[in-house]
């Protein structure tokens, strides 16, 4: 368990307004905690404080029962003895060392008894073999982040802190690194705290999601629950708002080009997926891809017609002419985005049984969970 309580205030100066941070949250170990919020919400500052690179005015940070910071007890373990590996947004590779020198820098300083992946394992997992002799200056942005990730991993960290490692990369590079982070999470069981403002990273990585705004925690919990809250406009106010579903790949039907996914509230037929049968997936079911009917429809191209119950109707944060409906498919909450007019015409109200319609092609997000 990672426990974090932090308070820090920066006074207003001539150059800018003041900022105050006042947060408390917990994260699973092992597991991935994602801090999500707009720029300037304080998420990178929290990461610095956990790493010991910033000394908070007051607060407590504990990892698996070991206190790293406790201002009340005057405990502040210096960053170099915390064993928190950090992957910075700007990689921060040492320019005077080769890639191999960078990778071994942390390894050489790790305590002998510390367990972790070997040099060869990390090089193989991150595909760094061809880069070892090169200098950081000659690497591409994606290669730099891979080396930075490897360097942090090889320092045998008890916690891996990732400060928007993908933010400075273009979309193809991001698509190349994100699966590597998933592989690291699955292969090495090192707890991860990941800071991002990209929803895709939340969907694919988060076991616990901490929503931040203006230096405060708006909400924290499993992403499946938080994404189903119409009131959390940080998530529900987006064009791609929708719930994250944890699914099991139940069967492939290559003949029809379909895959059946089971989740707690039923099954979904989706376009054939590459993941093997039996693996688990996290998918974003976007609210705009969910339609409703009050009677079972016929002659429809949509494969997925699921019985559901309307749980709540909330005005949509993005338009006065739209609403967000919270539905329940068995135990699973789902959001649907409809026009105000449609809700009035159908007379939709809480408690009403309906049919939720989801197109099979609606899923292009997500990855292995």
């Amino acid at each position: 368990m990672l426990e974090v309580t932090l308070r820090h205030a920066w006074p207003a100066t001539r150059d800018g307004e003041g900022f105050s941070l006042d947060v408390a949250f917990r994260g699973p170990t092992p597991g991935v905690t994602v801090l999500f919020g707009p720029s300037g919400c304080g998420k990178s500052t929290i990461l610095s404080a956990i790493a010991g690179l910033l000394r908070p005015q007051s607060g407590r940070v504990a990892l698996d029962g070991q206190v790293l910071t406790d201002t009340a007890a005057r405990i502040f373990i210096p960053a170099e003895r915390r064993r928190c590996g950090v992957v910075f947004q700007d990689a921060r590779l040492f320019p005077h060392l080769s890639v191999e020198g960078n990778l071994r820098y942390g390894l050489r300083r790790a305590p002998r008894e510390a367990e972790g992946p070997s040099f060869e394992e990390v090089v193989a997992l991150l595909g760094l073999g061809r880069l070892l002799a090169r200098r950081p200056a000659g690497l591409s942005g994606g290669e730099r982040q891979r080396v930075a990730l490897g360097r942090a991993l090889l320092s045998r960290p008890r916690l891996l802190l990732m400060d928007e490692p993908l933010a400075s990369l273009d979309v193809p590079r991001r698509a190349e690194i994100l699966p590597l982070i998933e592989r690291v999470r699955d292969a090495f069981r090192v707890p991860i705290l990941h800071v991002t403002h990209a929803l895709e990273e939340v969907d694919r990585l988060a076991d616990t999601l901490v929503l931040l705004e203006g230096g405060r925690v708006l909400a924290a919990g499993p992403p499946e629950a938080l994404t189903a809250e119409p009131g959390l406009t940080l998530l529900a106010g987006r064009r791609d708002a929708g719930v994250v579903l944890r699914c099991l790949v139940a069967a492939h039907d290559p003949g029809r080009g379909l895959t059946r996914l089971d989740f707690a509230g039923g099954s979904l037929l989706v376009t054939l997926r590459p993941e093997p049968v039996g693996s688990t997936l996290r998918l974003r079911l976007r609210a705009r891809d969910v339609s409703l009917a009050t009677a079972p429809p016929e002659g429809l191209a949509t494969h997925n017609v699921l019985p559901a119950v309307v749980e709540g109707v909330a005005p949509a944060p993005f338009s006065p002419h739209e609403v967000l409906l919270r539905l329940r498919l068995g135990p699973t909450p789902v959001l649907a985005r409809l026009t105000r007019d449609a809700v009035g015409t159908l007379g939709l109200a809480p408690g009403q049984p309906v049919w939720a319609l989801v197109k099979s092609i609606a899923f292009d997000h997500g990855g292995p969970a």
């Binding site: 960053a79 170099e80 320019p95 820098y105 200056a137 320092s155």
Partner: protein
């Protein structure tokens, strides 16, 4: 081409300049680091004191050294009584005077390159388990090496030409403290010394220019080694 006396002045100049750099380099790096990385009470004062030799007349620096390091001075007396070290009128004294005069040159060069080092790299080293000395020697020092080297070479070249502080503190003793500029000065004061003065002046000029070129070359080469250009 040169008389033995003239050669002696050249050799002595090189030796004094080299010793002065060897003596002041570690201290200059430490002071530069303090000035650029630490905020402390006496920082502006230290900054001013370090730069004093750039603005006050060298003869005044020499006089100050004479007061402090003279056999009766507050530092000179214990040095002489306890360790038997005498600096006035010696080669070591000439090196000390040169070191004081060229100290600000090294500090400025090192400080400039320290300010070019991303503190984020030092933070990264911390997160990887490197303590203060460890990260200074494995990250900061290699990255400021070009600045240190070019600072040292410039200080060396400037040290070859030091006159006022040496003649005031260490006097003009052939074979002991008579470096190139002092030998040139002595030659101009001697009837028939025009030839000696001209030859030594040419050597002095050549060494200074070579020093500057070398500093530039070394810095460029090291920057390329660090992969930053």
């Amino acid at each position: 081409m040169l008389t033995p006396e003239e050669w002696q002045a050249v050799r002595l100049s090189l030796s004094v300049a080299l010793r002065s750099v060897a003596f002041s380099l570690p201290l200059a790096v430490a002071v530069a680091w303090l000035l650029s990385r630490r905020r402390f009470l006496g920082r502006p004062l230290l900054d001013a004191v370090v730069h004093l030799p750039l603005v006050i007349p060298p003869v005044v620096v020499g006089w100050g050294l004479l007061i402090l390091f003279g056999v009766q001075g507050p530092i000179g007396r214990p040095l002489h009584d306890w360790f038997g070290i005498r600096l006035v009128f010696t080669t070591a004294g000439a090196a000390l005077a040169t070191a004081v005069m060229t100290f600000p040159l090294i500090v400025r060069a090192v400080r400039l390159s320290l300010e070019g080092v991303d503190p984020g790299l030092e933070a990264a080293a911390r997160s990887l388990g490197a303590g203060p000395f460890d990260r200074f020697f494995t990250v900061t020092l290699p990255l400021i090496a070009p600045g240190i080297l070019s600072g040292a070479i410039i200080a060396f070249a400037a040290g070859l030409g030091e006159f006022g502080a040496i003649i005031t503190f260490a006097s003009n003793i052939p074979g002991e403290t008579q470096t190139l500029p002092l030998a040139i000065y002595a030659a101009t004061q001697t009837p028939g010394g025009e030839g000696t003065a001209a030859r030594l002046a040419a050597i002095s000029f050549t060494m200074a220019v070579a020093g500057l070129l070398l500093a530039e070359l070394v810095a460029r080469h090291l920057r390329r080694l660090l992969g930053r250009s």
